[in-house]
Structures are given as structure tokens and as C-alpha cells.
């Protein structure tokens, strides 16, 4: 230990000596390449050292550098980064506005950074500035439509809840399909007790999102990277004047669409028609008074009387629009963000505080996030720097039950329009006056509040052992603390009959992570560039959960479990897992033309048995910059052209539990005595899912990079898919977790960025991304070729040769014009039958989109800037699992969707809506009848901003000021007849269970005004 101290001391002394070595001075001016204006605050740093400065108000800088220094790096927020060789003492440069996707842009890769030009893998970069202040709660929603191959879908319009993100399609059946999220080097925990853990991140603090898509880019994250990696880099301070930014925003949330249900008059008339039709089937004429008793019509009219409460359905006294009551018509959003950044050449900081408050569109749904961040960098000396990043956030949410609960707001649409909301005393009606329990009662007398504290941060030290070699160590943590507090009053669905229901849930997760790595970067003989990384990482996850719930509260005001007379139950559980990894990467560049990268990661994971614990994940990629070759060097067309190719292997060990390889027994109880019961069938052979990906890409820049883009073709094959193979139930188990299947995703991605017009007053840029992906299950368990839909209302199936979760089941053949029966096709595909059980099975839809696209445009004219993003999803279908209730020919008393008015009424009627029949289930079983095309194009985001002119700013003594109006989901173009085509009902959403609608809330449409000031 003593020796170590001495050595360390010597080492610091040694580094101190460098200061005395020979120096020289460089100076110059940095300007905006487009407008020629001086750029103040540009960071100027000597490559391979910590010494640097920033430009002053006139864009000028002066820097004393070591005699040995060869290169300086200029970088500026929102602009690119430029490396310039030191030839002489005067260096004037101009920086490009970052919107033109400069090839010199720095891209974050795992454990390092790279210049885009030198990339051999596929990384999509989205700048934080592009999504800044977008009024959504989850950064994934902000990324929607902005990157090729990245499919984002919110389950529904509940604020702060589930959002799916798939990079290059679905890679797994049973394990996780989510990418790995890494925030400033810390792989964060992407699971939580409820809500969405990604919504805790304030994305206004984000400098860039770098999405590692192909295996070569991602393989450095080895076993965690099969679904891609989203690297999130937060903003850092720059030396120079302290810069304050203040943003305030206020807006309105509305549903994108209301679908409409029958009104009271239609309801009464159709219910009676349905009842009479059922009576006729039974040979009864209910209109004959002698046959009325015991008829369906009597049943229906009694129900109408019951449902009408105090009012008279015969005179249509009540006409309640329940659908509108599901929504909060005063949903508002507000946000305030304040940040300060600056520092000197020794210490730099970025501080921020943010408040984001969004009312959901559904009654009872709210989201509020308070967050702060401190990022600090300190240069101890020329060789050693330390720093930390720390964010603390508090998210509080008012939640609503999942979509299949009677008490979830959207199920209110099932209630009858003849039912008044309240009785004559002003009390809310509930069952039995309402058809089902009234969600409004749960809203008015219940609460479901979540409070989450989230702390993501790390500290790091970096030591330059040699100018070409540094060692970096990082210690990071992600801590979540969540408390869900629920109380449902005496009249609610959960609380009725038990004098209230209360529940308290506590969840804590701690995820800590250590990274240690060396980075070696050197040029030899001016033509060989080597950039290599060698390191290790250890990560441990722990989560603990406890809850208690009870009933019998004395009064509704006492809502904590202290007051519950009956504690019904409680539990506490914990789980742990860990990863130990070693990784290496080497990049070699020859003559600025030929690029080669090798990487490999050896991962060990606690979630597998002793013999299957380690996996090795290699990748190789190469690039050829053709535009540097003689034959293209002078091309006027191709200003840049690079061909690249990669192959890599990545793994997946997330999403199927921490102990899936063990045969387990757990505690149980009967008669108040504890017991032991089997919980899991063993599989000692369980191992990683492996994803093999080949990517060939072409990066191009045309006409002096006025048009640039990328074309990528990939084939991603996942094998050893973790799959819960059905086993004979007579074993006492139903499934075993086995590596068995394989799946592939093939696709093409196009990215085109263009600078359409650019001059001093007018600038118009566009970017387009279009991605085609085809998912195919290649193998299930080797024996089965199809696993049909596993629940009655949906048809998401696994079929070899088809895409995951494809809709497979009976095909609806319309209505028999003779009798109004719903018809289905027999297996021959031609003959029809009215017996559902005889219907054949067909592929009737695919929930996986064939094409996703985004088209963004930014137009600026003097101080006015208009940007808008269209996002589209094409070639997919959605199944309405609630069709059998809401579009069901009055099989029961649920209110019906409006197309039911087109029902079959008399022989000869040609229609798709079968005859109405109360309790006769005419055509209501799951079939292609409830499968709809769900293509859509959406105006995802539009922002109109006005930047105050410099003359005004000077007077106000501020540096920037912008007023803006921004909107999200303002326009949606679709043929989907439901609420919103972007949907996957939350209670069953999964890898396989996609494209399903079940009383899912439409997406949120927001329009906000804001003011942004910098000084």
C-alpha cells in the first residue's frame, strides 16, 4: 500500500513536470460557416490533453499549448466538431451548423466516441436539441419517427405509461425486446413496479441519443445488446461565460380522436330490435301481450327501466354521452426548465432544474416530474480529470387501472346512454343502475398515486498515462424508489362490499455498475490510425418489493392502511442478478480510407447455471471511404462516399426472470399453515439468446454534402431463442424455459438529409428516413410449427415462416343476406358456415409494420423557424379485442359502435353487420371481423418559433429569446375505425401480443406555447 502511494506521488510529480516543458501559442477566430458571424463560446481543446479554452464574444481565442501538440479540436453545442492540425500559430476556422448532419460530428459509441466519418457500424444519432421541449413525458415518444429502423409505439394515451421501442424489429419471443439504455455510461434499469422507468428521465438534459443498431456497433455491450443500445449522453458545461437557459411552456392535452357510440334513441331502438330477433328465434312473438312474459323483449325492457334510473327511457329523457365522460376536458400541461452551464478551463459544470406537469386525457390520469441534474468536470491537472453526473428526479403520477379492468375510464363507453350520470340526489349512479360498475365512481372515489424517486449518476476519473493512452474508471448507480398508494372508496368496484380497499406498494431497485478501461489512440507514420479499448465491467441489480393491502375502513377519509380493520395480505420479495464482463475493441484506419474494427466481449451472467454462465460476443466491421480514392477525389457529385459492412454476435439475457434455469419450490399456504409448492421446472441447459447480424451500408454525401444519407441492408438472425415451451400439463407444469427457436429480421433503411435552400436569410432542410423490416419466425421448438392465439379475444399466434404475433384464426365472410347470420370461411377458404366452431383458420393480419418512416423539415426565415415532423407506420393491422362487446350486434347491453346501425334487418340486406340478437352471439367471436388496417401518417410534432432579433436582445441584455408554439399529434391520417391506430392494450402487451386494442385510450394531442430565454 505504501509503495502504491509513493508511486502515485511520483506519478503526480511527473505529470506536474510536463507543465514546464516547451510550449507555443496558437490563436485565431472561429466563425459560423453559413452566416460568417463570429461564434463565441466555442471550446478549443488540444487533442489528447485536457488543456483548452473557449472563444470570446468576437469568436477569438488564444491558447498556449505544448510544443508536441499536433491537433486542436473545436466544438460547439449544436454545431459540429472539427479537428485541425497545428501548422503555424494562426488557426481560423468556421464551424458548420449541426443541422446539416456533418460528417465530422462526434458519435458516441460504447466506451468512447468516434467521428461519424470513421464509423463502420450503424449508429443513428438524434440530437437532444431536436427533441428539446417536446411536450411528451417519455423520451422514446420524442424519438418516434426520428431514426431509421427505430419503431416506437405507445401502448395507449395514458400519460407516463408503457412505450415500446423496437430497433430493427422484434428479436425475441419470450425474453426482452427492449434495447439497453445507457445513460452517461450507466446501463440503467428498464423495469419498475408500475409506470414507465424511462419517463423518469428529463430529456431536456440530453445532448444526444446515439442508437447502436447493428451488431458491430452494439457488440461492445455483448450479451445485453441483441436489441440494440440507446446511449444517452447528457449535456456538459463548456468553459467560458456562464450561460443560463430558461424555458417555460403551457399547453393543452386532448385525445386524438373519439370514435362515437349510439345515442339513447338509437340504443333503445336497437336493443329492442335485438331482443325481438332473439324471441323470434325461440318461436315467440313478444309483441303479442300473451307471449310477452318471459320474452327477451321483456328482459330488455326491464333492463332499460333499470338502466334509466330516475328517468324514462320511453321518452328518451336521458341521453348520456359516456365516451366524453372518460376524458378530462381540462387537461393542461406546463413545464419550466432552467439550466446553467459554464466553467473555466479547469472546472466545467452543467446544472438544471425542471418541472413538467401533464394532465392525462383520461380522468384520474396525471403525471408530474421534478428533476435536477449536476454534471461536473474537473481537470486536476493536465493528465488527470475527474467528474460526476448526477440526476435526481421525482415522478408523481395519478394512474388509472389497466385496460381490461371494469374501473378503467375507457370502459365507461359500455354503459347505456339511457343511464343518467347521477341520481336525483346528485349521487353517481353505479351498478345495478349502470350496466356494469361505473368507472366514474372509481374516479370520483378512488385514487392510485405513484411516487418515484430516481437517481441516476456516476463518478469517473480519467488519467492520461501517455498522450496516446488513458485509463478511465467509472462507478455508476441507478436507484429507484417507488411507492404506489391506492385507495378505493365504499362505492367503487374494488371497495364495494368490503368498506373500501387500500393498498400500499413499495419498490426499490439498486443497480450499480463499475467500468474500467484503457483507451489507446495513436497515429503512426501519418497513415495508420489505431484506436483501441480494453476493459471490464461489473454490474449488479437488486430489487426489493413489499406491499400490504386491506379492507374495512371506518370512513372514506381515512385512507391509509392504519385504519383498515382487515389486513388482507402483504408480501415482500427480492431478486438479484449480476453481470461480469470483459471487453476489447480495436479500430484501425489506414490512410483515411480504409477502416477496420474488431470488438469482443466476454460476458458472465448470474442468470444461467454454472456450466452455461459465460458467453463470447465478437464483431468485425470494415469501411472503405471511396471518396478519398483518386477516382472520386475530384468528383463534383460525390463529396463523400463510404461503403461499410459488419458482422457481429450479440446476446440477450433479460426479461425471463433471474433464475429460469432452476427447478424451484416456493412457499404457499392453506388453512393458515405454510406449505411448499412447485413453481418452476428446471432447465440446466438454459443459455443466452444469440443474435447474429450482418449489415452492409453506404454513406454518401452529394453536391458538397448538400444531400447526404445512408442506405443500410441488414439481416439479423436470432437463435437459441428463449421460449417457454409448452410441456405436458400432466407433469404438474405447463411450460419450461428452453433455448429453442430462431427468428430473423431482414430490412433496408434509407436516410436522406438535404439542405434544400441555404442563404443568409432563408434556410430549408429536410430529412427523411424510411425503413422496411420483415420479421420471420424460423423455428419454434422444432416440433410445433404453430402456436395459435392463447386467449379467446385475440389471435396473436406464433407460426413458423410468419411474423411474430401474426393474427391467425377464423376469417369472417360477412353476413348471410338471407337470414342475417354471421358467416365464416371453412378451411377450404371458399365455403361459408354460420358455425364458428367449423370455421377454418387463416392468417388474417399482421401487427408488425412493414414500413416505418419519418419526414422532418425545418424552414427558417430571418428569426422565424418552422419545423415539422411527419411520422408514419404502414402495412400493419390491429385487432379490436373488445369488438365482441362494443361491435357485437347487441349480444348484451353494452353500448355499441356506430357502424352497428348498418345491421342486417331483412332478407336481401347486403351488409357486414350481422342481425342484432340479444344473447345469441351472432358473429362476436374473435375473427378477421375485428382486424383492421392500422396504417397511419401523423403530424408528430410541429413547432413554429420566433427568435427575437439581436438588436432587441441587446436592449434586453439577454443572448437569446424565442417564443414558440409546438404541437404533438395534431393530425392523424388513418383508416383505422377505432380510437387510434397507435395502440397495444396495456394489460397484455408483449413481444407476441401486439396490435391489440381493448378500450385503450387514444393517443394524446397536445398544443403548447412556450418562451425560451438565454442569458
Amino acid at each position: 500500500m505504501r509503495k502504491l502511494k509513493l508511486l502515485l506521488l511520483g506519478f503526480f510529480l511527473l505529470s506536474g513536470q510536463l507543465v514546464w516543458s516547451q510550449t507555443k501559442t496558437i490563436s485565431g477566430k472561429v466563425t459560423d460557416a453559413k452566416q460568417g458571424d463570429p461564434l463565441p463560446g466555442v471550446s478549443v481543446v488540444v487533442k489528447g490533453s485536457n488543456s483548452g479554452t473557449v472563444t470570446d464574444a468576437d469568436g477569438a481565442y488564444k491558447l498556449t499549448v505544448s510544443e508536441k501538440a499536433t491537433t486542436v479540436i473545436f466544438s460547439y453545442l449544436g454545431f459540429g466538431t472539427k479537428e485541425v492540425s497545428i501548422n503555424g500559430s494562426l488557426i481560423n476556422i468556421s464551424l458548420e451548423d449541426g443541422q446539416s448532419q456533418s460528417l465530422d460530428e462526434i458519435v458516441v459509441v460504447g466506451y468512447g466516441t468516434k467521428i461519424k466519418k470513421d464509423l463502420t457500424g450503424n449508429i443513428a444519432k438524434v440530437k437532444g436539441a431536436d427533441v428539446q421541449n417536446m411536450p411528451v413525458t417519455n423520451l422514446n415518444q420524442a424519438l418516434q419517427g426520428r431514426a431509421a429502423g427505430v419503431f416506437v409505439e405507445a401502448n395507449n394515451g395514458k400519460v407516463g405509461e408503457g412505450v415500446k421501442i423496437l430497433i430493427r424489429g422484434s428479436g425475441s419471443i419470450s425474453a426482452s425486446n427492449s434495447p439497453l439504455y445507457v445513460v452517461d455510461g450507466v446501463p440503467i434499469n428498464n423495469s419498475s413496479y408500475s409506470g414507465n422507468p424511462i419517463a423518469d428521465i428529463n430529456f431536456n438534459d440530453v445532448e444526444s441519443f446515439d442508437i447502436l443498431k447493428d451488431a458491430s456497433a452494439a457488440a461492445i455491450y455483448g450479451s445485453r445488446a441483441a436489441n440494440g443500445v440507446v446511449l444517452i449522453t447528457t449535456k456538459r458545461g463548456k468553459a467560458g461565460k456562464t450561460n443560463f437557459q430558461v424555458n417555460t411552456q403551457y399547453g393543452f392535452n386532448k385525445p386524438t380522436h373519439l370514435r362515437g357510440f349510439l345515442n339513447a334513441s338509437e340504443y333503445v331502438s336497437l336493443v329492442r330490435e335485438a331482443a325481438i330477433n332473439s324471441d323470434i328465434i325461440e318461436g315467440i312473438d313478444p309483441l303479442d301481450p300473451s307471449q310477452y312474459a318471459g320474452s327477451w323483449l321483456q328482459h330488455a325492457e326491464r333492463r332499460l327501466t333499470r338502466y334509466s334510473g330516475w328517468s324514462d327511457w320511453r321518452t328518451l329523457e336521458t341521453n348520456t354521452n359516456w365516451e366524453e365522460l372518460a376524458f378530462n376536458d381540462k387537461a393542461r400541461t406546463s413545464a419550466i426548465d432552467i439550466s446553467a452551464s459554464g466553467g473555466n478551463d479547469k472546472t466545467k459544470f452543467y446544472l438544471s432544474a425542471s418541472y413538467n406537469n401533464q394532465d392525462g386525457i383520461l380522468i384520474g390520469n396525471r403525471f408530474k416530474r421534478l428533476s435536477t441534474r449536476i454534471n461536473l468536470d474537473h481537470n486536476v491537472n493536465d493528465k488527470f480529470k475527474v467528474g460526476f453526473n448526477l440526476s435526481l428526479s421525482q415522478t408523481s403520477a395519478g394512474r388509472v387501472p389497466v385496460d381490461n379492468e371494469f374501473s378503467t375510464p375507457m370502459q365507461i363507453v359500455a354503459l347505456s346512454p339511457v343511464t343518467p350520470l347521477r341520481d336525483l340526489d346528485g349521487n353517481l349512479y353505479n351498478s345495478p343502475t349502470t350496466t356494469y360498475s361505473n368507472p366514474y365512481v372509481d374516479f370520483a372515489n378512488g385514487k392510485f398515486n405513484s411516487l418515484i424517486y430516481r437517481n441516476i449518476g456516476n463518478i469517473f476519473g480519467q488519467y492520461n498515462i501517455l498522450p496516446s493512452l488513458f485509463f478511465r474508471t467509472e462507478l455508476g448507480a441507478d436507484i429507484q424508489n417507488q411507492n404506489d398508494d391506492q385507495f378505493y372508496g365504499f362505492s367503487t368496484t374494488y371497495g364495494t362490499g368490503s368498506n373500501g380497499y387500500g393498498e400500499s406498494d413499495w419498490y426499490r431497485s439498486l443497480d450499480y455498475n463499475i467500468n474500467n478501461y484503457f483507451n489507446f489512440k495513436k497515429s503512426f507514420s501519418d497513415v495508420h490510425d489505431i484506436d483501441a479499448v480494453l476493459g471490464m465491467s461489473y454490474q449488479h441489480y437488486n430489487s426489493e418489493y413489499a406491499n400490504v393491502y386491506g379492507e374495512q375502513f371506518p370512513v372514506e377519509d381515512l385512507q391509509k392502511l392504519e385504519s383498515a380493520a382487515l389486513i388482507k395480505g402483504g408480501t415482500s420479495v427480492a431478486t438479484n442478478s449480476s453481470f461480469l464482463s470483459y471487453f476489447a475493441r480495436a479500430n484501425y484506419k489506414f490512410n483515411d480510407k480504409y477502416l477496420l474494427t474488431f470488438s469482443g466481449r466476454l460476458d458472465g451472467s448470474s442468470v444461467f447455471g454454472n456450466d452455461r454462465r459465460y458467453g463470447f460476443f465478437p464483431a468485425i466491421s470494415a469501411g472503405w471511404i471511396l471518396s478519398e480514392e483518386n477516382f472520386l477525389e475530384n468528383s463534383n457529385t460525390f463529396s463523400f462516399l463510404k461503403l461499410r459492412g459488419s458482422w457481429g454476435l450479440t446476446g440477450n439475457a433479460d426479461g425471463f426472470g433471474d433464475f429460469a434455469h432452476l427447478g424451484l419450490w416456493g412457499g404457499s399456504s392453506y388453512n393458515g399453515v405454510s406449505g411448499l409448492s412447485p413453481t418452476q421446472l428446471a432447465n440446466k441447459e438454459l443459455r443466452w439468446e444469440k443474435s447474429n447480424q450482418v449489415d452492409i451500408g453506404l454513406d454518401f454525401g452529394l453536391f458538397n454534402n448538400k444531400i447526404s444519407g445512408e442506405i443500410d441492408v441488414y439481416n439479423r438472425k436470432t437463435k437459441d431463442l428463449i421460449y417457454n415451451v409448452p410441456v405436458p400439463g400432466n407433469s404438474g407444469f405447463t411450460t419450461q424455459t428452453v433455448n429453442i427457436g430462431s427468428m430473423e429480421n431482414k430490412g433496408i433503411e434509407f436516410v436522406i438529409n438535404s439542405e434544400n435552400v441555404s442563404n443568409k436569410t432563408f434556410r430549408w432542410t429536410s430529412n427523411l428516413n424510411v425503413s422496411f423490416n420483415k420479421n420471420k419466425i424460423v423455428k419454434l421448438d422444432g416440433e410445433q410449427t404453430s402456436v395459435p392465439g392463447n386467449d379467446g379475444r385475440y389471435m396473436n399466434s406464433l407460426i413458423v415462416g410468419e411474423s411474430i404475433g401474426i393474427f391467425y384464426g377464423p376469417k369472417y365472410a360477412g353476413v348471410d343476406p338471407a337470414n342475417g347470420d354471421a358467416l365464416y370461411y371453412l378451411q377450404d377458404g371458399k365455403t361459408t358456415t354460420n358455425d364458428y366452431n367449423l370455421a377454418g383458420d387463416f392468417i388474417v393480419g399482421n401487427p408488425n409494420p412493414k414500413v416505418i418512416a419519418g419526414l422532418g423539415n425545418t424552414v427558417s426565415f430571418k428569426g422565424i423557424e418552422l419545423s415539422f415532423l411527419f411520422q408514419g407506420v404502414f402495412g400493419n393491422q390491429v385487432m379490436n379485442g373488445a369488438g365482441g362487446f362494443m361491435s357485437a350486434s347487441f349480444d348484451w347491453y353494452d353500448n355499441q359502435t356506430r357502424e352497428q346501425l348498418n345491421r342486417w334487418q331483412k332478407p336481401g340486406d347486403i351488409t357486414d353487420v350481422p342481425q342484432l340478437r340479444l344473447a345469441y352471439g351472432n358473429g362476436i367471436s374473435s375473427s378477421s371481423r375485428y382486424v383492421y388496417d392500422a396504417d397511419y401518417i401523423r403530424l408528430k410534432n410541429v413547432t413554429l418559433a420566433y427568435n427575437l432579433p439581436v438588436s432587441v436582445l441587446r436592449k434586453l441584455k439577454i443572448s437569446t429569446a424565442k417564443v414558440y408554439v409546438t404541437g404533438v399529434n395534431l393530425l392523424t391520417f388513418t383508416d383505422y375505425p377505432g380510437w387510434d391506430p397507435e395502440v397495444n392494450t396495456d394489460y397484455r402487451a408483449g413481444n407476441r401480443n401486439q396490435g391489440s386494442d381493448f378500450y385503450a385510450a387514444p393517443q394524446i394531442k397536445n398544443i403548447s406555447v412556450g418562451l425560451n430565454i438565454g442569458f
Binding site: 364495494t496 368490503s498 471490464m536 448470474s606 419450490w665 388453512n671 428446471a682
Partner: protein, 446 residues
């Protein structure tokens, strides 16, 4: 260079310290190899077997619900929104019905625990070994009996050596699935033989008293049901008589006291124990109403049923009106579920004595009029087979016996004959896929 050596060695130290960190065990579960290692664990597993049998998919309510829904015959109506019970009610069960699937799996889960216990029985303390073995055999026999009643043609349909029962598995699942799990269905006769063997062994092994768990009389009581299904009236009568004569059980003084109890009533021969903390009771959930913490009154009682009772029948008085008529047997939350009551033993004895022309234990007239009808305030009726069976139907109404009585008595419901294909559950498609369609045959009509 020394500096880098230090850093590299520091790096190696960190790395080396970590590999042990990959050895992580679960906190809520233990490995299967640690379970059957001592007496206490096996007894805990036995309690786990009762817990498994008390699942809502089994004796926790669904078995009874299926029986009543299949036997509805316009006496009750299913008006709930859940498709799975509705398919049972409509006799249009899909092979992927998730309730049916769950019942199959839950029964075999119970059987697997019993098989594990029976394999390790020698580890149990000698003093308790017979009891533990008897309980495991009882539960296994009872589970196979419930399975064969639902998934096989009724015994009364004959052809018991060719009609298919269920798959018989008597070895525990440890480590992996074995060939024992890929077996074809046994015949009805083979399945009944196993049931009789298990229950008869249990009868001799079990004690007379055993808290709320199975006793020798519980085994006898279930045996009397098995023999009734087989129309073996002598044995059914004798088993019922054994239970009655034991004196371990007495009828509650009023009918309503036999239901909605937090602890076993004096006439419960077996009841599933339900508490607020362990509230597996689908009978309450579906048959009661929201005001009592249930769903919305998914099962309604219709006039056709109510009209069967005499005017002052206490059993009629147990129904209640909440806009529609509901069964009061399942009114309250967190109450035990009677599985087999002493009253049934009297009815079985009376029926068998009547059929056989014997008076073992008592005359049918005594059992029916003095015991059963007297308690519910009904005057004596002439003892005929029809009257005995009607009495049975009223006394045991909505307790899960209906369809099995219809089947053994070769009656019909809702236009379906007792041996109709549609009154037999389909083998869950999941099972056929998992075992293979060549091995595991589907029932006719699916």
C-alpha cells in the same frame, strides 16, 4: 511504465474479485433438490398439495361452477361477461378455453405434488407416515376423479374399457419432463381403478380425525360418490353409511348454517378453507353480487328452479332477490367452500337403500323425511326414487353436483343427452400440442 503496471494490476484485482459475484440464489424459492430431504418439508409439501387442490380452478369453485353451468337446464342463467364460463354454460367449449386449460393443469399440479410426496414417503416420521401417505393418495384419487368426470364420457355411458379417461401419471416430475408424461389416455375403467385404489388405500391409512384435512371418512364420502358414478349402489351405500355411523359429523340445526361459514360446520366432511388472506373462492366471486364483494351476480337463479321447492322450504328461503334471484349459499366473502356434506351421505344412503330394497343404517323414509326434509321445515313425502332424487337435487343445489347426477342418472339437460359429446370437456388443445396428437386423443365432438 510502472504507472501502467500499477493500473493494470489494480484492474486485475478488481476483475478477480468479481467472479464469485455471479453465484446468486433466489430469495423466495428453494431448489427442488432441497425439498424432499426431511419430514417437515414433506409435510409442508402436503399442505401445498391441499393449497393446490383449493385453487379456484379446482375445488376453489370452478369444478362446482362447471357442473352447475353444464347442468343449467334453464334453472340458472350465466349472464357474466367472461367467455370461458359462458362457453361451458352454452355447451360450446372451445379447445383453447383458458379455464378448462387451467383446471387440467391445476389438477395435475396437485397430482405431481402428491407423487413427489409418495416417492419420498419413507423420509416422513414413522408416526405420521400413514397419515401423510393417506392424504397424498386421497388428494391424488380425488383429483383423478374430478378429471375423469369432466374430461371423459360418463361411467354410465358404458364401454368403460374403450372410452377414454385421462392420462395417468404416478411418478413425480423432477429435473425435467420424462417419458412418463408422454402417455396416452387410459380408459375409463383404468382411471376408475386408479381412483378406487388410491381412495381405498387412503381410507385404511387415514385417521378418524385430522383437523380440516382428509380423514378416513372423507375418503369414504368421496368413495361413495365414485361408486354412485359407477352405479355400484351397494358400495356407495356402505361408504355413506360408514360416514353417517361414525358419528363424527352432525347436520347443522338449520339449513342456512351449513353455508357461509368461516370454519367448518358440523356437517362438513370436507370443506375448502377460505380466509381473507387466502380467498380462493370462485363460487362466491361468480354467484354473489357486488354488494358482497363479488362480481356482478354472474349466475342468476331462474323460476324453473325456484318452482321446484315447497312453499315454506328453508332452502328456498336461502335465495335472495337483488333485482334478480341469486343463490344465498355463496353470499359472503372469505367463507369456506363445502365440498362434501353429511346431508349428501343420507341422500346417497337413502337412494341406494331404496334401489337395493335394503334398510342399512336407516330406511329411506327416515333419511329423507326425518332427516333431510324435517330440517328444512318440509312435511313428509312418499318415498319414491323420483322423490329421493328430487330431494337430492334441492338439498345439494348449486354445490357442484348437478351435471354428475344428470350423467349417472342418464338424464338430459338443455336438450343434450347425458352422454352427449358436448357435455364432455375437450382435452385442452395446449395439452394435445404438448404431448402430440398421436398420443393424446381429443374427445369426440371437438
Amino acid at each position: 511504465m510502472k504507472k501502467s503496471i500499477i493500473l493494470v494490476s489494480a484492474f486485475i484485482i478488481i476483475v478477480a474479485g468479481c467472479s464469485k459475484k455471479l453465484d446468486i440464489l433466489p430469495t423466495q424459492s428453494i431448489d427442488e433438490t432441497q425439498v424432499f430431504t426431511n419430514d417437515a418439508n414433506i409435510k409442508a409439501a402436503l399442505n401445498g398439495a391441499y393449497d393446490a387442490a383449493s385453487s379456484t380452478s379446482l375445488l376453489g369453485g370452478d369444478l362446482q361452477l362447471y357442473s352447475e353451468l353444464l347442468g343449467a337446464d334453464a334453472e340458472i342463467a350465466w349472464v357474466g361477461t367472461y367467455n370461458q364460463p359462458d362457453e361451458v354454460y352454452s355447451k360450446a367449449i372451445l379447445t383453447n378455453n383458458s379455464y378448462v386449460r387451467a383446471t387440467w393443469a391445476a389438477a395435475y399440479n396437485t397430482i405431481n405434488i402428491c407423487n413427489n410426496i409418495l416417492k419420498a414417503i419413507d423420509i416422513v416420521d414413522e408416526a405420521d407416515r400413514d397419515r401423510v401417505k393417506g392424504e397424498a393418495l386421497f388428494l391424488r384419487g380425488e383429483m383423478y376423479f374430478e378429471l375423469v368426470k369432466l374430461f371423459g364420457k360418463p361411467y354410465s355411458a358404458g364401454n368403460v374399457t374403450s372410452n377414454l379417461g385421462v392420462q395417468i401419471v404416478t411418478t413425480p416430475t423432477i429435473g425435467d419432463i420424462s417419458e412418463a408424461n408422454r402417455v396416452p389416455r387410459s380408459t375409463i375403467e383404468q382411471t376408475y381403478n386408479l381412483i378406487l385404489d388410491d381412495l381405498n388405500q387412503a381410507k385404511t391409512l387415514l385417521p378418524e380425525e385430522n383437523d380440516v384435512y382428509a380423514t378416513t371418512y372423507t375418503a369414504s364420502a368421496i368413495l361413495s360418490r365414485v361408486y354412485l358414478q359407477m352405479a355400484d349402489y351397494t358400495k356407495a351405500r356402505d361408504e355413506a353409511n360408514t360416514v353417517i355411523e361414525s358419528g363424527e359429523y352432525i347436520l347443522t340445526d338449520t339449513y342456512d348454517k351449513a353455508f357461509n361459514n368461516t370454519s367448518n360446520s358440523s356437517e362438513d366432511i370436507l370443506a375448502m378453507q377460505v380466509t381473507a388472506q387466502d380467498d380462493q373462492n370462485d363460487m362466491h366471486l361468480f354467484w354473489s353480487i357486488g354488494d358482497f364483494g363479488a362480481r356482478d351476480g354472474d349466475v342468476e337463479i331462474l323460476d324453473k328452479h325456484l318452482s321446484l321447492y315447497g312453499a315454506a322450504d328453508d332452502r328456498l328461503a336461502l335465495f335472495y332477490d337483488n333485482g334478480t334471484i341469486y343463490s344465498g349459499k355463496w353470499l359472503l366473502q372469505y367463507r369456506n367452500i363445502p365440498i362434501i356434506r353429511l346431508a349428501e351421505m343420507y341422500l346417497t344412503r337413502a337412494e341406494c337403500n331404496f334401489r337395493l330394497g335394503t334398510n342399512i343404517g336407516a330406511t329411506p323414509d327416515e333419511d329423507i323425511n326425518d332427516v333431510i326434509r324435517d330440517r328444512v321445515g318440509q312435511t313428509a313425502i312418499p318415498v319414491t326414487l323420483d322423490n329421493i332424487l328430487l330431494e337430492r337435487r334441492l338439498e345439494l343445489a348449486h354445490e357442484g353436483q348437478r351435471i354428475h347426477d344428470v350423467k349417472r342418472l342418464k338424464g338430459s339437460v338443455d336438450g343434450f343427452a347425458y352422454d352427449a359429446n358436448k357435455l364432455v370437456f375437450p382435452i385442452p388443445i395446449r395439452e394435445i400440442n404438448a404431448v402430440g396428437p398421436d398420443i393424446l386423443k381429443q374427445n369426440d365432438g371437438y
